[in-house]
Amino acid sequence: MSANTNSPINLSSFPQPIVHIDCDAFFTSVEQALHPELKGKPVVTGKERGIVACASYEAKALGVKRPMRLWEAKKQLPQLICLPSDYETYSLYSKRMFSIIREFTPDVEEYSIDEAFANLSGLRRVYRTGYLEIAWKIKQRIQEELGLTVSVGLSASKILAKIASKYKKPDGFTVLRANELHQFLPGISLDQVCGFGPNTVALLMKKGVRNVWDYVSRSELWAKQLLGKIGIELWHELRGEAVYPIVTQEKTDYDSISKTKTFTPPSCDKDFVRAQLIRNTESAFIKLRRYKLRAKWVCIFLRGQDFRSWGTEAELDRSTCSTLEIAPIVNQLFEKIFRENVLCRLTGIVLSKIEPDKTVQYSLFDDVPKLQSYSAISRVIDEVSELYGKHKLHLGTSLWLTQHKQHVSERGDLPERKTDLIKGETFRQRLGIPIWSVTV
């Protein structure tokens, strides 16, 4: 069954011209673009979380890796510059990148904060040039206007385009034509395919599949029998037959919503830990309502100093999106899992079994007027947040939060953007234009 690497699968080069654009070390690149003095230096972001959230290429070259504690990284590399994350500015940059791509084509998927897929079909006539040149132009425009580098992959399906963009990084530009797959895929290992996790790779290796070309040269039926639906989908995608569409709408449905937050120093103060948990609950429910959803299943957990978590879960007899309705339940669950004199460093909540917030079927014993007034209160909470900032109107329990700051150590440092306000800006509202921090 060995592969015949001489004959192409497809005859045309781009049955669907799909491009994947991926920013290189996005968070730190934004910091370096706005703070030129950081250019060429090892920089990481994630100071407020105590871990390396993103490492610049300079830092990566010196051995800093992504899931690493900050103090470990600092010990290894004393000259490392640690910055608190400035998500506000990162999302400004992200929006700009997507809108530059949208100037070329409306068919853009915001895959993550720094990754986009776009379908270029039909654009050759508009730009009077080939897909390769259009993709190159997009790359140039982003780099010129944002001042950071992106890696671009152009191919015939989303999965292939992603392989291509990862093929050379940073500042890469890889074109993978569908009629050249038989030359390219034998050199691609299975773990480079988005969709093959470590377990799938191990299974495929057992079956004698050593690389991506081996996989696509097997029959479709074989892929189906081994890996099911996803196996077939990937089999087609990897052969340059696009199966996954470009999803242009914003993501509004969630399978689950979770909110967790660390605090330092760890605490065993019951009221404080409870307040942390209730605050996470409030945040999760604000998000739930923003997307007009309700949840039916809730799980809460605490994490101790040894980084071990414990928790419990509950299924509600009816889904809800009201903070006041869930708070007593969360409180009951908390009473069950809180351990006296055990230091906690984190609380978290996960909401699941989520459905759209449409009509409610009340049960016979529900206190309907009370529930309706709850949802009125939720509405007021959201309106007040809109006007005066998140959590301005909150449950009494979270008053204990003011007992001490979220982070007493230097982890509490704020990004420069939040401390250096322009006249007329408030802590909540800032100009939607990135501030370039050069002294002139």
């Binding site: 700009r96 809108s99 206007e145 944002l146 322009i422 370039w436 002294t439 002139v440």
Partner: protein
């Protein structure tokens, strides 16, 4: 007997067409909606209109509306109104301050001014200048540039074929880049908020 041309109704039709389509009709379009038998007739008509100042030729030789095309009365909507009310006129097109100051929203950044080197140009310390990235600097532009490792805001000029950076303040000497010059962006606007 030469044909009498009804200029009044023709110019009305042209204005309506121009308002709707944002362009002038082509010769063959005019032939149809003005009821001419040939394009030659249209070209005679156009010659008249050019003489009357209603149309003119642009540099590329294309016909564009002339100075008198709009007429004494303004067009509001698709019909010619009597006296336009000032309020209605204001509604036609407005720019927000953002649109007025920023041409390329994706490439524009704010830089807070900290020195006094552009004081004679009226750029004070604390002003916010809007800078466009990825734009070719032209002599006379104000640029944000990195010269031999130092960031600065100066006039971008050429002297004896060489690029020089000039401050708008006599205290500062002319900068002639020695090793390297990186143009970070071109200043497109300056914002000062008093209150």
């Amino acid at each position: 007997m030469p044909k009498q041309i009804d200029f009044h109704s023709i110019i009305l039709k042209l204005r309506q067409f121009h308002h709707k389509q944002r362009r002038l009709p082509s010769f063959s379009e005019m032939q149809h909606f003005l009821g001419y038998k040939s394009k030659g007739g249209v070209s005679v008509l156009i010659a008249h209109l050019v003489k009357m100042g209603l149309l003119e030729k642009d540099k590329a030789g294309k016909f564009v509306p002339g100075p008198d095309f709009a007429g004494g009365l303004r067009l509001l909507g698709s019909v010619q109104a009597g006296f336009p009310s000032p309020a209605e006129e204001e509604l036609l097109d407005t720019l927000t301050l953002d649109e007025f100051l920023i041409k390329k929203p994706n490439a524009t950044y704010i830089v807070k001014v900290s020195g006094d080197s552009m004081i004679d140009e009226g750029i004070k310390e604390g002003d916010l200048v809007l800078v466009e990235r990825g734009r070719q600097a032209q002599p006379g532009d104000i640029v944000i540039a990195q010269v031999d490792g130092q960031w600065t805001m100066k006039f971008f000029e050429k002297k004896d074929g060489k690029i020089v950076l000039r401050a708008a303040n006599k205290k500062y000497p002319l900068i002639v880049p020695q090793k390297e010059l990186v143009i970070g962006g071109v200043v497109v606007a300056n914002v000062r908020k008093y209150k």
